[in-house]
C-alpha cells in the first residue's frame, strides 16, 4: 500500500490538484504578502485592542474596557457624527451633480466635449496634499483670495478654516473639487453603456429629452449610481488625509473625522485604544457597505 515512491506521490498529488503546481506558485506571493501585512497585523492588533498599551512595557489585559470606553466616549461619537455630517455634504450632492453633468456631456452634437471632459478630470489626478495646501492659502481668513473677493464685493470676511461652522463646508468643498471629476467619469461610462436604440425608440414614441432622461438614462444608471454611492461613502468614513493637511482635525475638533480620530490615538501612543477604534471603524464600514448594497438590491427589484 505505502510502497509508492516519493516521486509517485508527487505525481499523484499533482494529478489531484489539477495537473500542475504552477498556478499555486503564481498565486503564492499574494498570500505571503497578505499573511505578513494583512492577517498577522490584524490578529496582533485584535489582541492588543483588549489591552492597555502605550507603546512601551508589557500590555496589560483589560478585557472589553477599551471598547466600552470608546462607545461611551463623547469624542468617539463626535468623530462619527462629523463623518456623517460630511457624508451629507459630499455624497448626495456629488452624486446628483455627477449624473447631471455626465448627461449634459453625453448630449449628441456637443462641441468641445474633449476639453470639458479633460478639464473636469484633471482635478482627480492632482496630489491631494498639493491641492490641500492651495486650499489653505486660498481660504486663509486674513489674506486668502476668497475673502479678498468677498471684501471687494463689500461682504464680511469669513473664517473658512478657523471657525467650526465653516471648516466642514470648506473641507467638503475640497473633497468635491478633488473627486467629483472622477464621479463624472463613472457616470459618463455608465451612460455610454446604454444602447442608443433605446433613445431612438423613445424618440419615435414621442418622448422628449427630459422624459428620455428620467425614463431611460436614470433607471439604467442605477447600478453605477449605487456603486458610486458605496465607494464614496467608504471614502468619507475613512477620510484622513484631507483633514490632516487642511485643518489638523480642528478647529475645536470640528473636522475630526472617524478616520482622523484613529490618527489622534496613534499620535498619543494610546495603541490599545487605537486598535479598538480601528475595529469599531471596521464594523461601521462593513455595516455601511452591507446597508448600501442592500439598498441597491431593493431598488433593483423595484
Amino acid at each position: 500500500m505505502s510502497s509508492y515512491s516519493p516521486r509517485q506521490r508527487v505525481f499523484a498529488l499533482r494529478h489531484w490538484v489539477g495537473g500542475s503546481f504552477a498556478p499555486y506558485v503564481f498565486i503564492a506571493p499574494f498570500f505571503v504578502f497578505f499573511l505578513a501585512f494583512g492577517l498577522f497585523p490584524l490578529l496582533y492588533a485584535l489582541r492588543l485592542s483588549f489591552t492597555d498599551w502605550r507603546g512601551v512595557g508589557v500590555p496589560r489585559f483589560v478585557g472589553f474596557a477599551n471598547y466600552t470606553f470608546l462607545l461611551t466616549d463623547r469624542l468617539f461619537w463626535e468623530s462619527v457624527q462629523n463623518s456623517l455630517y460630511l457624508w451629507f455634504f459630499i455624497v448626495p450632492v456629488q452624486t446628483l451633480f455627477a449624473v447631471l453633468v455626465a448627461s449634459l456631456l453625453s448630449r449628441p452634437l456637443l462641441r468641445f466635449r474633449w476639453f470639458f471632459r479633460t478639464s473636469y478630470l484633471v482635478s482627480y489626478l492632482v496630489p491631494l496634499v498639493a491641492i490641500a495646501q492651495v486650499w489653505k492659502v486660498l481660504f486663509d481668513q486674513d489674506f486668502g483670495a476668497v475673502n479678498y473677493v468677498l471684501q471687494t464685493l463689500g461682504l464680511p470676511a469669513v473664517g473658512w478654516l478657523t471657525t467650526s461652522t465653516w471648516a466642514k463646508p470648506t473641507l467638503a468643498l475640497l473633497v468635491f473639487w478633488k473627486s467629483s471629476g472622477f464621479a463624472i467619469l463613472i457616470m459618463l461610462a455608465a451612460i455610454q453603456g446604454i444602447p442608443r436604440e433605446l433613445y431612438e425608440a423613445a424618440a419615435l414614441d414621442g418622448a422628449n429629452e427630459r422624459k428620455q432622461f428620467f425614463l431611460i438614462t436614470l433607471p439604467l444608471m442605477r447600478r453605477a449610481i449605487a456603486f458610486y454611492v458605496v465607494i464614496a461613502t467608504l471614502a468619507v468614513v475613512q477620510m484622513f488625509a484631507e483633514p490632516y493637511v487642511l485643518t489638523q482635525g480642528g478647529p475645536y475638533r470640528s473636522t475630526t473625522t472617524a478616520g482622523y480620530a484613529l490618527f489622534r490615538y496613534m499620535k498619543h501612543l494610546e495603541l490599545g485604544l487605537g486598535a479598538a477604534n480601528s475595529f469599531l471603524l471596521t464594523i461601521l464600514v462593513v455595516a455601511l457597505s452591507l446597508l448600501m448594497l442592500r439598498l441597491l438590491r431593493v431598488r433593483e427589484e423595484a
Partner: protein, 303 residues
C-alpha cells in the same frame, strides 16, 4: 419614408425646427455657460497655484488675483530649494515607485493568469478569498501595520514603504478579468509548442494584454505617487519622507530654516512646492490621456 422618420426623430429630440430658433438657442447658451463655468471651477485653483508660485509671499497676500508678467520672479522656487530638501522627497518617492511598482507589475498579472486560465483545486475558494480582502478598509490597517513595523524595526525604512500593499487584491482581480479575455486557442498553441506555464505567461499572455498592462502601470503610478496616508504614518524622519509627506510638512521645514517665515511669507514657497509636485502627473496625463481614462475607469471597480 425613411427621411420622414429621421425628421421625426430629430424633432422629438431637439424640439420642432421653429423652436430651435428661440428656445434651444437660449438652452445652448445656458448649457455652454454652465460647462465653461464648471471648467473654470476645476482649472482655476491649479492655474492660480502655478501663477502665484511666481510671486512673492507678501505679494500673494496683498494682491491675490493680479499678476504682472514683468514682476514674475523665481524667488519662491529659489528659497524653497534652499529651505526644503525636495530632492530627498523625489528620491524616496522614486525608489518606492520603482520597487513597489515592479512588485505589483510582476506578481499581480501572474496571479491573475493563474486564476483566469488554470483549473486547480481550491481555485474558486481562493479567488473569493482574494476578493474578500478588498473589503478591508485601508485606514483600519494603519495601526496594525504600524505596530508590525515597530516590532520588525522597520519604521523609517524603504521596506515599510514598499512592501505593504505591493501585491494587492484589486490589481489581481482586474488582471484576471483582462486575461480571461485572451483566447484559449493562443494558449493551446503555446502548449503544443512546448511552452511551460511561465512561458505561456511571458510569451503569450503579457504581450496580448499590453494595453491593460499600460493602464495598470498608470494606475499603480498614480496610487504610489499620490499615496500619503501610509507614508505619513510609517515615516518620521525627513530623510525617509516621500514627496507628498514632505509637502504636508512644508511650513515646519521652512520655518526651521528661515525663522519668521511662517504664514504669508512662506506662501510663495508652499505654492511653488505644490506646483512642482503636481507637474509630473499633469504632464503624464496630457501625454497618455487615453490610457489614463482607461486606467481610472478600471480603478473605479475598486472597493
Amino acid at each position: 419614408m425613411a427621411v420622414a422618420q429621421e425628421k421625426r426623430l430629430i424633432n422629438a429630440r431637439w424640439g420642432r425646427p421653429e423652436c430651435l430658433v428661440r428656445g434651444l438657442r437660449l438652452g445652448h447658451v445656458a448649457l455652454y455657460t454652465f460647462l465653461v463655468v464648471l471648467a473654470f471651477f476645476y482649472l482655476y485653483p491649479l492655474l492660480w497655484m502655478a501663477v502665484s508660485s511666481f510671486k512673492t509671499g507678501p505679494d500673494i497676500a496683498s494682491r491675490p488675483l493680479s499678476f504682472n508678467v514683468s514682476d514674475a520672479t523665481l524667488d519662491s522656487y529659489r528659497r524653497l530649494l534652499q529651505n526644503v530638501p525636495l530632492h530627498i522627497g523625489f528620491k524616496n518617492t522614486f525608489v518606492v515607485l520603482i520597487f513597489k511598482g515592479a512588485l505589483t507589475m510582476f506578481f499581480c498579472p501572474l496571479a491573475g493568469f493563474a486564476f483566469a486560465k488554470f483549473r486547480f483545486r481550491g481555485r474558486d475558494a481562493l479567488f473569493v478569498f482574494v476578493l474578500a480582502t478588498m473589503m478591508l478598509p485601508p485606514v483600519v490597517m494603519l495601526i496594525p501595520l504600524l505596530l508590525l513595523m515597530g516590532r520588525l524595526g522597520w519604521v523609517n525604512t524603504y521596506q515599510a514603504l514598499i512592501l505593504p500593499g505591493a501585491v494587492n487584491a484589486f490589481s489581481i482581480f482586474w488582471m484576471r478579468q483582462q486575461i480571461a479575455e485572451v483566447p484559449d486557442e493562443l494558449l493551446d498553441a503555446g502548449r503544443v509548442d512546448g511552452c511551460s506555464a511561465w512561458g505561456l505567461h511571458w510569451r503569450i499572455v503579457l504581450p496580448v494584454i499590453r494595453p491593460a498592462l499600460a493602464a495598470l502601470a498608470i494606475l499603480t503610478f498614480l496610487d504610489i505617487y499620490n499615496d500619503f496616508v501610509w507614508p505619513v504614518v510609517a515615516v518620521n524622519t525627513i530623510r525617509m519622507q516621500t514627496l507628498q509627506v514632505m509637502l504636508s510638512d512644508l511650513y515646519n521645514q521652512i520655518n526651521n530654516m528661515q525663522v519668521g517665515a511662517i504664514g504669508t511669507n512662506a506662501w510663495g514657497q508652499v505654492l511653488a512646492a505644490s506646483t512642482i509636485a503636481t507637474f509630473p502627473v499633469l504632464i503624464l496625463f496630457l501625454i497618455l490621456q487615453r490610457h489614463f481614462i482607461y486606467g481610472i475607469l478600471a480603478g473605479s471597480l475598486k472597493g
